[in-house]
């Protein structure tokens, strides 16, 4: 029996993998019974006397309409975190001050509210006056042009949902021993939003881009002027100059008044406070694409321009943000994404990857966007190791940590995308473990 008194009978046919992983349709079937029970309860209440026993918020008129909405005062602790998941060896004052991670344990859908979207700046958030800011496109173009925010607002726009992930996300999982940090600290450099903007190809067309162009150098107007080289094929495909995030002007921490947005690419390439696009035939080799955001392989060669984020998934619930209070039925849910395109399948294991069951993928399943997956799980009260494994429509499969390390060694600090394990202890506590 569950709390509402509904009987959920689980038989052998419901088990799709060992360790209590159950058929993804189980909750759908039992929901039909719950709905009927609720209707009966409401009908019974309608016959009671009015007022008595009601709470204040029901009896007293509420406050006036807000001009800019705010959260419940009871939600104030659900915030981003400025912290570092790195060991002391990695500890970096700037990284701590200029990084804030999304509380993924509170996210149940796929869209991150603007106030909770992760942020990473290298020298702080600039306070840009939009009337003083413009984007200049120059270099290998017929007509160097500039565009301010008012000009961009006049173009036909596109609105699409995309994930954004810092390629340093989950980087602590490269370390030799599993970190004790929270879900938010380990994976919180990840968010999903609807981005609206002007396709860069539209503006390049207007400038008359040369056929010999191969790269575009993007520079920001922030302190330190963030600089990255973008391949021309990407720039002419789905790269946009974003001016809205989830329906409102993008916020200062996300690049106000305009940012580059490269769907599916490592977050750092989506240069915020975008001010210059220099069209050229070669990359500029900025610090952020040589010294940083490169990964040293076992043979001491470093991979550079690892731009497309690999297929990846994480379980957000249960996670180490909680502990299991009692054995019984739970929903395992999380997020899956791929920088290439759509997620095609997510499997979940409760026995450390020995057996797997297919999770249900929640619509819509959009390319280069977070996909929510769900699967019921029966916890028997003993130790269990929960894992998720994602596939994308191009045949990429999320590797195990051992497979990733076998291919790339343990020297990288970026681009960790292997399967991560939540170890459930017999007492219900959950820890990040290697399995």
């Amino acid at each position: 029996m569950d709390k509402k008194g509904n009987s959920i009978i689980i038989d052998a046919a419901d088990h799709v993998a060992k360790g209590g992983v159950l058929n993804r349709r189980l909750f759908l079937n039992s929901a039909i019974a719950s709905t009927a029970a609720l209707a009966t309860a409401r009908a019974a209440f309608a016959q009671e006397a009015v007022g008595e026993g009601q709470d204040d918020w029901t009896l007293i008129p509420g406050s006036s309409a807000e001009l800019y909405g705010s959260r419940s005062r009871f939600e104030e602790e659900r915030v981003k975190r400025r912290l570092t998941p790195m060991s002391d060896e990695f500890y970096n004052l700037r990284l701590t001050k200029y990084t804030a991670r999304t509380p993924l344990d509170h996210m149940l859908g796929t869209i991150t509210p603007n106030g909770l979207h992760f942020e990473r700046t290298h020298q702080g958030i600039p306070d840009i006056d939009p009337d003083q800011h413009f984007l200049v496109i120059h270099g290998m173009v017929k007509n160097p042009l500039k565009f301010d925010i008012n000009a961009l607002e006049n173009y036909p726009t596109v609105s699409k949902q995309f994930f954004l992930e810092c390629s340093g996300n989950s980087g602590t999982l490269w370390s030799e021993t599993p970190t004790n940090e929270s879900l938010q600290a380990i994976h919180g450099l990840l968010s999903g939003a609807e981005w609206t903007g002007v396709l860069l190809s539209t503006l390049l067309d207007e400038c008359g881009v040369s056929k010999d162009a191969k790269w575009i150098i993007a520079e920001g107007a922030d302190n330190g002027m963030m600089t990255r080289s973008i391949p021309i094929d990407k720039a002419l495909d789905d790269t946009m100059i974003a001016i809205r995030q989830n329906g409102e002007r993008i916020r200062p921490s996300q690049g106000y008044p305009m940012r580059l947005f490269n769907p599916g690419f490592e977050g750092n390439t989506s240069v915020k406070w975008l001010r210059s696009l220099y069209v050229t035939d070669r990359p500029v080799m900025s610090i952020q694409e040589t010294v940083k955001y490169t990964d040293m392989m076992p043979d001491n060669m470093s991979l550079q321009f690892t731009l497309e984020q690999d297929v990846k998934s994480i379980i957000t619930k249960p996670s180490n943000a909680m502990s299991l209070k009692q054995k019984g039925l739970y929903e395992v849910t999380g997020l899956a994404w791929s920088g290439k395109g759509r997620i095609s399948r997510v499997e979940v294991s409760a026995d450390g990857g020995k057996t797997w069951g297919d999770a249900m993928l929640q619509d819509p399943i959009l390319p280069k966007m977070l996909t929510r997956f769900r699967i019921p799980w029966q916890w028997y009260g003993g130790p269990a190791i929960l894992q998720s494994r994602a596939y994308d429509e191009f045949g990429s499969i999320q590797p195990t940590r051992n497979q990733l390390i076998a291919a790339r060694g343990r020297k990288p600090t970026y681009h960790f995308h292997a399967i991560q394990s939540w170890g459930v202890q017999s007492n219900g506590e959950i820890k990040n473990v290697y399995a």
């Binding site: 539209t202 900025s286 392989m297 550079q304 291919a407 995308h417």
Partner: protein, 190 residues
């Protein structure tokens, strides 16, 4: 598409033009010409071949003086070992690039291009006041960093002609992973 035979050639041309129009770009144009001043304000990139390096020049001895005043509050001098300053990474004294963390990857051990040093410190340093020095002062700081990393001699003058010619120890240590990473590092398992 067949056309009536009686149609004059000029009309036929017009008709073809109209038929072709939907295939042409139909975007409104709102960009305005960018002046050289607009570009100069917005564009600070220096390329490995030295393109866009400015006039001016510097040396390591002048760079050392500038470093002590502008950089030493956050970065250790060679031989210093302040643990707080070490947290943002060492700038000198590491030859072996295979050190496990990126904080051990110094200019001498890891950086592939000397132009990136000038480009980065000019746009981003000193942290409290980027772009507050002259081009010659940034050349001097670049010379000092390269000298202390064992990449150039102490008396080497660094300017727009000499800097791109400096060969970095790890110049050949990088592989382009775009659009596809080499097979041996792939992690796509069946």
């Amino acid at each position: 598409m067949s056309m009536p035979k009686s149609l004059p050639k000029s009309l036929l041309f017009t008709a073809l033009l109209m038929a072709a129009q939907p295939a042409l770009a139909q975007q409104p144009h709102f960009g305005v010409p960018a002046s050289q001043a607009d570009i100069d304000k917005s564009f600070w990139s220096i390329f490995p071949d030295g393109e866009f390096l400015p006039d001016g020049e510097g040396t390591a001895d002048k760079g050392k003086e500038l470093f002590e005043v502008n950089c030493n509050m956050c970065h250790n001098l060679p031989g210093e070992d302040d643990p707080t300053k070490n947290q943002i990474g060492k700038l000198f004294g590491i030859k072996d690039k295979s050190g496990k963390t990126n904080l051990q990857q110094t200019i001498g051990s890891y950086w592939p291009y000397p132009t990136t040093v000038f480009d980065y410190i000019r746009r981003a340093m000193p942290l409290v006041a980027p772009m507050s020095l002259s081009n010659s002062e940034y050349y001097s700081l670049t010379a000092y960093l390269l000298y202390e990393n064992g990449v150039i001699d102490e008396d080497q003058v660094i300017n727009k002609d000499t800097l791109p010619k400096v060969k970095m120890p790890n110049r050949d240590g990088f592989i382009n992973a775009y659009p596809d990473i080499p097979e041996k590092y792939k992690t796509r398992f069946k």
